[in-house]
Amino acid sequence: MKTPTIKNDIFVMLIFSAVILTMPIWMEPLGASYPDLLQKFAIFGIFAVGYNILFGLTGYLSFGHAAFLGVGSYTAVWSFKLLTMNILPAIIFSVLLSGLFAMLIGFITLRRSGIYFSILTLAFAQMFYNLAYSVLTPITNGETGLQLARNDPRVIDRLFSEAGEGLPSTDFFGLAMSGYSGFYVCAVILIITFFISQRIFHSPFGIKLRAIKSNQTRMKYTGYNTRPYLLTAFVISGMYAGLAGGLMAATDPLAGAERMQWTASGEVVLMTILGGVGTLIGPMLGVGIIKYFENIFSALNEQALHQAYAFMPDWLANIMVAITSPFVGEGWHLTLGALFVLIVVFLPGGIMEGINMIKKRFSKKTPEPHSDSLKKKVAPETGK
């Protein structure tokens, strides 16, 4: 196994940054370059990249990460309400608080592994969700969701200016969080977090986490206490989720409990799997594909389908519409579920495995000894 050098990492990093930052340009022909969607790409990217640090490296399947996302969102909205509309304190508090919660939950749940761990995290997430809807309504505002109000204190903002007319909007030192500037803020944060995750992947710490995944017992016999490493990974990924939640609230200052439902955790698992568990780029690819198609598919309706099938004879078009219409619009989740099943059945390593397979086939004909070491390195894990 060749260890990637720092030079190599920086090279990958530069390409990644360039791709992310030019997204508004190259997404244009795909019809997906509007800011809302781009922000979603970046935010869910952070979420998935963080989740991958836990699931991809250690193999611990958590079904409770949406809880941290929710904690992050609520914290950020409270920071907007009480302190300032600047997102910096908001996301700092989100990260810290969700990290704290992750430490607490991780401390308890990491006593067990495998399916028990999944169910324990699920139980905690459900507790959070149920409490947010019931007793914690003074904090979470129950079903309505936590919103900004005109008469919020906003102590820090008041020091500098009077309360304006209407609801203030979030900003990052004057940079508005809506529109393209909002995307760029999210994108820069994504690049930073991606860089951190890359460093974790290639650090001794990351290698220890992989060792835990491949054989925890052996790891223990060689004298490592695995729990602190697992807990660190859990907290880091919890903080990533909190950061994503905070940013979600920053781009749209509203926090609702449905973000914490366990199916939301399922979504991030799906994104990670689709792209490729345990690979660096994989989760980002998964996010991009799912969010893109969600956007395309859920916008379609029967009329659009009729137009798409206009070239066919009428009877055939009607049949095709009848077949495909449950899959689009409201029924987008059906497509998602089917995709999920297909991926797990046929391509358990996700898209990255597919890419590697294609690469291998080509490299047989033209051997390339100096091909990208990073992708080669992850190949053995995705094969499982």
Binding site: R112, A123, L336, V341, V344
Partner: protein
């Protein structure tokens, strides 16, 4: 005293549902070693068996409404009523209990198809992959139901004679004010019967004995020349039927909608884990235990001391049990351990 008695009944009733669902889930866990996240969807499909049976019975044609004389009014009249008169009306009235007969073959078929088509290929895969594929399947099933039946809950009436409340207080020497819906009592009895049936099947028939042997040591049973795989397919079908029946009979209590399965899924997993993986008795005991705990936690007296306890009690108990007794209440050694 009256309140406590009623809560106990409530708890038993909820527990009956939990126990039935968890029984099916733990059968799949214990025999096949598959973590089935589509189990809640089976419960939901059972409930929708009842809905579709009802719809089937009430296929109607438009007839002239005789009761309105001053203009031509039309009303929908089910064919059954037209053909059989009052007997037809009675059949429609008993749609929910009768749909048990409809649900058993349907659920068995669904179970067999699921096992043969998908689950079978995942015996050797990791638990994480099993969870993921069944989770995807659950979404698919749920969305299919949604596109056929819509997103709104569909109320299903219980038969007329049992739609009222039973004066159960008198029976137990409590005040006459203690009444309890008939249908819930029926559900409790029904779940008892089904649970007893499953246990009888597994413990008293040769077929069941082989299945239990397979749960213990699959390889040896295979070496003895028994087609374990086929038995396991049947077990999966059985689990689907048990869960589906739980869903069928639950429809008058909770109007079914497409995501009811997901709501029950988490609960049933918690029940199985608390009871102990692979332990049928444990699942039943834990089902009733958690049901009773939950209904007592929702009493006002307790809620005023611990606000919100009714929302989290089940999960709290699960966390505590898993940490204190890692194998659950009655878990066997070596099942689902890593």
């Amino acid at each position: 005293m009256d309140a406590i008695f009623l809560q106990l009944l409530n708890g038993l009733d909820k527990g009956g549902a939990y126990a039935l669902i968890a029984l099916g889930l733990t059968l799949v866990f214990g025999t096949l070693g598959v973590v089935n996240f589509a189990h809640g969807a089976l419960f939901m499909l059972g409930a929708f068996c009842s809905v579709s049976f009802y719809k089937l019975l009430t296929i109607s044609k438009q007839v002239k409404d005789e009761s309105i004389t001053f203009f031509d009014a039309f009303k929908e009249q089910p064919y059954l009523e037209i053909w059989f008169g009052d007997f037809g009306t009675a059949i429609i009235d008993f749609a929910v209990p009768l749909s048990i007969l409809f649900a058993i073959p349907v659920m068995l078929l669904i179970g067999l198809i699921m096992e043969r088509g998908l689950i079978r290929h995942f015996y050797k895969r990791t638990h994480a992959e099993q969870i993921l594929v069944t989770f995807g399947l659950a979404i698919v099933l749920q969305e299919l139901i949604k596109s056929f039946f819509g997103a709104n809950p569909i109320p299903m009436p219980p038969p007329d004679i049992v739609s009222g409340s039973a004066p159960i207080g008198v029976l137990f020497g409590l005040s006459e004010n203690v009444v309890y819906p008939w249908w819930r009592l029926i559900y409790l009895a029904f779940s008892g019967i089904v649970i007893a049936g499953v246990f009888a099947f597994l413990n008293m028939t040769t077929y069941g004995m082989v299945v239990r042997a397979g749960m213990m040591d699959r390889e040896t049973v295979g070496l003895l020349g028994i087609d374990v795989e086929r038995r396991f397919t049947v077990v999966f079908g059985l689990a689907a039927v048990v869960t589906g029946l739980a869903g069928v009979m639950y429809t008058p209590i909770l109007p079914p909608d497409y995501h009811m399965g997901m709501d029950f899924l988490v609960l049933s997993f918690v029940v199985v884990v608390v009871g102990g993986m692979g332990s049928l008795g444990g699942a039943v005991a834990a089902g009733f235990l958690l049901g009773i705990l939950q209904s007592f936690a929702s009493m006002n007296e307790i809620k005023s001391i611990f606000p919100g306890i009714d929302q989290i009690i089940i999960y709290l108990v699960a966390v505590i049990i898993l940490l204190v007794r890692p194998r659950g209440l009655l878990g066997r050694e070596g099942v689902m351990e890593d």
